[in-house]
Subunit: 241 residues, 2 copies
DNA sequence: TAGTGGTCTAGACCACAAG
DNA sequence: TTGTGGTCTAGACCACTAA
């Protein structure tokens, strides 16, 4: 079951194996896992390698350790939330819906003070502004506006925007996305949103402003979205310290 | 600087030391850290111990590793978000405000179907229901209702509720909080909220439903809150996969 | 080629939990 | 007392990066 000659790291093989056993029900909630020494003996690997595998599972909330007692399968989390950073497309897919776009505009503009500050670039330097209606199963779900530095993200086109922006950044530009900070607030639709989102006057919306950064902390993207409150709820999972 | 005879683990001492250097500016954004081997030599500890310290820092987003190159200080995150799970009191403190409560009611009720399902207990089993107005600097910020199983959390009283619920659970009952799942939506105030939150008719509110679980996954608490949209924004940080 | 992080080993001693 | 996870050592080889 564990291939020591595989280029896939042993700890990762073991991690996936245990995760699979939990998902398949072979290991049930509350069950004690074999001890680290048992895993080590059984697969003829070092205990430190076993610990590396289990540590990942602890981090992801699949299992928890009890000092002096053992390692146990944790209860499953209720609704699967956004696992870290997801694009709108991935988010909708996870909710069982199909995402599509309606491009409102794609242009290059000089950075406003706020955008420049957010992206940590000079005021008036070129910025891509992309505005789209995001649809789920054909129904308007959100109005989204993205701002990206045209200096950092070169070669962006309407075609790329219509497919996957994150794919382009991660695979074509070879930049690794690190983390995002999101500010979520509640509001009432304005005139533009009312028309584009096809809702009544004074309907509530969820405003989400996301600032995404690369692994080294360089600001990559500023996104402002207005989600229809009647069709969208934001779900997140927060782990203990 | 590193005390090998201290009961405090070496990896933790090193982790705190490096974190301090980053916060004090001795190590600046983009700076390369000494290599793992240098740390090991310098403090006469094993490289694996150094890795353990640095891994924590990578997880927390302080530094990032570049294969074959080195470890670097990441850019600081913009606004400090809720670091994992925080209580209302801690949250307000982080925002530079003082929190206070106005207890609406504290009672024991039979669990409704929804509450029973959320807390994974039988319908009609006893549940504490606590409703409070949460104030920041004396101004109403949110209306919050908590539901806790009276079987799991025994001995809860009005006094405890007035001070710190989490302190009571973690230190008196000795139960470790694990994670929480939150559902965030946008809405318009109802009559009750309008009066208690002292806002006008049709004002927007941020609805947050939080389900908190213990380390082993046992549901601990269900909280439903309505935050005034004009005074509260929810800020979160999401890390890469 | 030299240096870095990524992975792995085969031990060791400790504190803690449970019988 | 036995078994568990928590910490730590002193090596090793690998793939990758940069000079």
């Amino acid at each position: 079951m564990i291939n020591k000659n595989s280029p896939i790291p042993i700890y990762y093989q073991l991690e996936e194996k245990i995760k699979g056993q939990i998902e398949q029900g072979e290991l049930q909630t509350g069950d004690m896992l074999p001890s680290e020494r048992e895993y080590a003996d059984h697969y003829a690997i070092s205990r430190m390698t076993v610990r590396q595998a289990i540590s990942k599972l602890v981090n992801d909330g699949y299992v928890y350790r009890k000092k002096g007692t053992g390692t146990f399968v944790a209860e499953k989390k209720i609704e699967q939330p956004l696992q870290g950073l997801t694009s709108f497309t991935e988010d909708m897919k996870a909710r069982g819906m199909t995402a599509s776009n309606r491009l409102i505009h794609f242009k290059t503009i000089p950075a406003s003070t706020y955008v420049a500050h957010s992206l940590n670039i000079p005021v008036d330097s070129p910025v891509y502004e992309i505005q789209r209606i995001r649809l789920a199963d054909g129904v308007p779900m959100a109005l989204e506006t993205n701002f990206l530095s045209a200096t950092l993200v070169q070669g962006l086109s309407e075609e790329v925007v219509q497919s996957s922006l994150y794919d382009f950044i991660e695979n074509k530009l070879n930049k690794k996305i690190g983390h995002a900070t999101q500010i979520i607030e509640s509001s009432i639709v304005n005139e533009t949103e009312m028309e584009l989102l096809e809702v009544k006057k004074d309907s509530p919306v969820l405003l989400i402003e996301r600032k995404t950064s690369l692994e080294d902390g360089t600001p990559l993207e500023l996104v402002k979205s207005s989600y229809r409150a009647d069709r969208y709820r934001f779900i997140i999972n927060m782990e203990r310290n």
